[in-house]
Amino acid sequence: MMRGLEDQDKKDDSHRGVSGTVRTENQVTDGVSRRSLTLLDRLRLCQDAWAPGGPWDRDGAHAALWGRPAGSFLVLRDSASQPILLCVATGGESGHVRDNPIQRTGAAYQLSQSFLGFSDLAQLVVFYSMSRDVLPVCLFIPPWLYSLTDQPQSNSLSQLGPKSWLCPTSDLQPDHMTQRAPGTAMCTIQLTAANGALCIINPLYLHEHGDDWLTHQPTSPQRVNRPANHRRERRLSTTRPWSGAGLLTKRAISMEQESYSSSPDNPGSPVVQATPSPPTPTGGVVLRRPSRDASIESLDRTWSQDRTATSRPPSDPKPLFSPAPQSPHRVSWVEDRVWLSKPPPPSLLRPPSLEMDSLSISSMEEEPESVNSPSHSPHPSHRLADKVKHRLSAVGLAIGGLGCPQKRLTKRVQELSKRKGGLFAEAVTGFVEMTLGAGFIPGMTGADLLQEVRTALTALRETLLDCPEIHILIDSMADTPDGELDAILELSLHKVALKPVSAHLYTCLQSCWDHDGSLRKLRENQRLLEGRGVEELEGTPGAGVPDPVTLEKIQQRWSAMHQSYSPSRKVHILLKVCKTIYHSMTANANPGVVYGADDFLPCLTWVLLRSDVVTLQLDTNYMMELLDPTLLQGEGGYYLTSLYASLFYISSFRPRLATRQLSTEAQQSLSQWHRRRTLHCNQSRRSMNRRTLRRPGHSEMGREKSSYAETETGTGSITDAPPAPSSVVAKALHIISEVVVAVREEEGSRAEGQGSPAAQLQASPLKEKQITVEELDGHPAGSEVDWEGGVRPWRCVVEGLESKEGQASLHRVHEELCARSVKLDDQTDTQISQRRSEWTGLPVGD
């Protein structure tokens, strides 16, 4: 039913007119590309990847699937020795793979244990990726497949092999996910209810009970008689095989509405074999097609016009928007975008088990693209709210649906907050008035302010939990995990208490921050750093950054995040941004590369440098302080911490690029120096009373190994003398250089306008060197070594390292430099003392 239009065109000439019309209308009205592919199309395109022929046999497939994520699968084409096999990795410690033979009965493919038939393998795969039926797990479709949007990419699909198919990490841009639920599997009926949830109905149930419970609706002004009757005619009867046509029609409408990628059914539609008894002849479907297609055509038109025209021609039938089913027994509800964009949970009928504690939204997908949101959803913010609510009330929680206890709880909290004379209502009012009344007090930090609010929120929650009505409700929700309950209560509280005050809080926050001047620093450093690429921000080569389009979308998310009053929702949006960033990072990555924090933090920083850091700083504080502390340990907490850390990194950034350069340079020189030294020692200076890097006890060994050291160019590492002097020395060099540069920065900032520290360093390199050398007196430079000019002082430091006196001198350098710099700021000071303590802790020269 919801097959892509291309598919439709290819396969069914007789429908060309119909779909062509629809397409034109949509293009005119929406400018939406109709070239987007459905999942089914994609699967067909890369059928060779998941259903390899040729040399692939059962053993090969098992080997390839072993240890793969549960649900990974390959289909083996039939051969002389075996039927068609669906090999599925079931996950778990054993990495078990299970074979499921597929039978082909006439035109239908079906798993041998199942009664559900499909007209081709791709449809079968799509179905079992949504509903596990007889399988132990749902099939896992690699996420990257969803993200392919345009033709060129898709063309490469046909060249993929099973290896790439099974690789879960070839993620591309998920943001362009336009695929919609592939609905060709006629054995399921899917329809979209008013709230956007997707409904999958077991046809066996319909077969048993008929479908009029679905169409029965007590009040619907939109409804006219004709379609209802029309549908009633189609009601399942024992004498006629059921085809689900009426329902599918509705589905088509709603899917069109959402994605414009669906189309009327095609003639090769799968055969329903709801029970083994009456195998539906394909002819039966064909016979009935005309009327069905007519209805689809008119409905599609109606729908398009409905969307475009402000006034509908009175002659047209009203659209058949389906209301939510009245009694959704045995119906799985899945939140729409969750379902549409990511592989669904292994079993749709599983009880909800969302990990609210970690606020994990990963299974949640991107917001609807802006192309369809304006027309589709007149109240985007409201939609989002709904969605979050859905999310919070967990995927599939709406099983049996409407009026779920979670929603009731939210509602009850709101009622209570408005009940005149109620304890909770008074507490809320008191809180709101107090907060709005309080202005900015000089000296107060943003954190103080927000912590007070957090305390008040917690107190409000206690008050709420004391209400008997809430008690009863919570006790009735024994199935709901505590974390989830917590989250629902929090969200409800945010709505009644935070919403009225959030704008005011932001104003106060802004004043606090303005006062302490750190926002200015943040902005300055942003300007300083914004030109840097991700590698200059310590990122790993190979990890990608968001492209301009993605970056633009991130900006939109940031602004949505800013506008939300609830810290939980803000975090939720933050997670989406982080997910987008991750996808950009991995877009061109080699399979098997695991990107961790080493890669993520620079990338996040890169994004932040291209965003409104000041607003983000306020938002971050808002979230950090107001979020329920129990939520801070999970995924939301992690990425919030990363955001905070990254902003801190920017605002506290000290342009110490010079340090880096010096340090690297010094290390290189050092290793060369060390090489010459040891070589020298070995050759002729054995008896000379001079220091080398090696400790006396190791000198014998050192000489033996010196030739080895010589061959080891560039590293300067020595394997025989723990702790390795070179690393100790390098460390010391680094410490010193940092100190020196820090001092120089201080001086530089006083002598204004002298350019970057690096420039200053070049302009007046001698000063510091002299100090250092002076301080290290008694340790003359080795005259036999010809030194590169720039690192002389460091060599002296190195010389100094070999003895306790040397270390003492080093300390003196530190002291002196600190004293000389007159006023190091606290941070530098702390840093230096920290370094110094690290340094003294190093096991050198004992």
Binding site: A70, G91, L465, G596, A597, Y649, E838
Partner: protein
């Protein structure tokens, strides 16, 4: 069965394989359908230990020198820290010692420290001897294992040992990481209102 959430922080130089270790640990029963996470920076895995379920919330940190100052934000509140070094890089072992010191000074009290010498599959290029590392770990009462994320050696062992060292929940339920406050609270209040 009690479910305990244990925050575990990963520390160590960049490139020593922190995230690969977690990935290895998590992927065994990694089901993207059930609990997918955004990326390897944060991952979770629940394992059974005696009559408790331990849900590890694994926080990765950036190992670059420049980001070191940010680490306290990450290790705050951790029940355990896994400090990873690369057995083929002496420097990374020195960094590890600094992490140990920092945790001792500023980390959460009673944090369980595990030391993982990663890349033990590359023993040809070894720079840190197993004995030295083991001696050091013993001297600070840390868990020690040499691991190979590549060959999946000793990965689960690290976490099993962490589970073993996590203090047992006392009957009062005072320890951090449990998630029962909400239910407990209403029942407490209920007893109050009933009387």
């Amino acid at each position: 069965m009690t479910l305990r959430e244990l925050k575990v922080c990963l520390l160590g130089d960049t490139g020593v394989g922190k995230s690969s270790i977690v990935w290895r640990f998590v992927e065994d029963n990694f089901d993207p359908n059930i609990n997918p996470t955004i990326g390897a920076s944060f991952m979770t895995k629940t394992v059974q230990y005696q009559n408790e379920l331990h849900k590890f919330l694994i926080w990765d940190t950036a190992g670059q020198e420049r980001f070191r100052a940010l680490a306290p934000m990450y290790y705050r509140g951790s029940a355990a820290a896994i400090i990873v070094y690369d057995i083929t890089k002496e420097d990374s072992f020195q960094t590890l010692k600094n992490w140990v010191k920092e945790l001792r000074q500023h980390g959460p009290p009673n944090i369980v420290v595990a030391i993982a010498g990663n890349k033990c599959d590359l023993s040809d290029a070894r720079e840190v001897s197993e004995k030295d590392a083991k001696d050091y770990a013993d001297s600070i009462h840390a868990i020690f294992v040499e691991t190979s994320a590549k060959n999946a050696i000793n990965i689960n062992e690290v976490f099993i040992e962490i589970s073993q060292r996590i203090p047992v929940l006392d009957a009062g339920g005072g320890a951090a990481g449990n998630g029962f406050k909400l239910r407990r609270r209403p029942s407490e209040t209920r007893t109050r209102t009933c009387c």
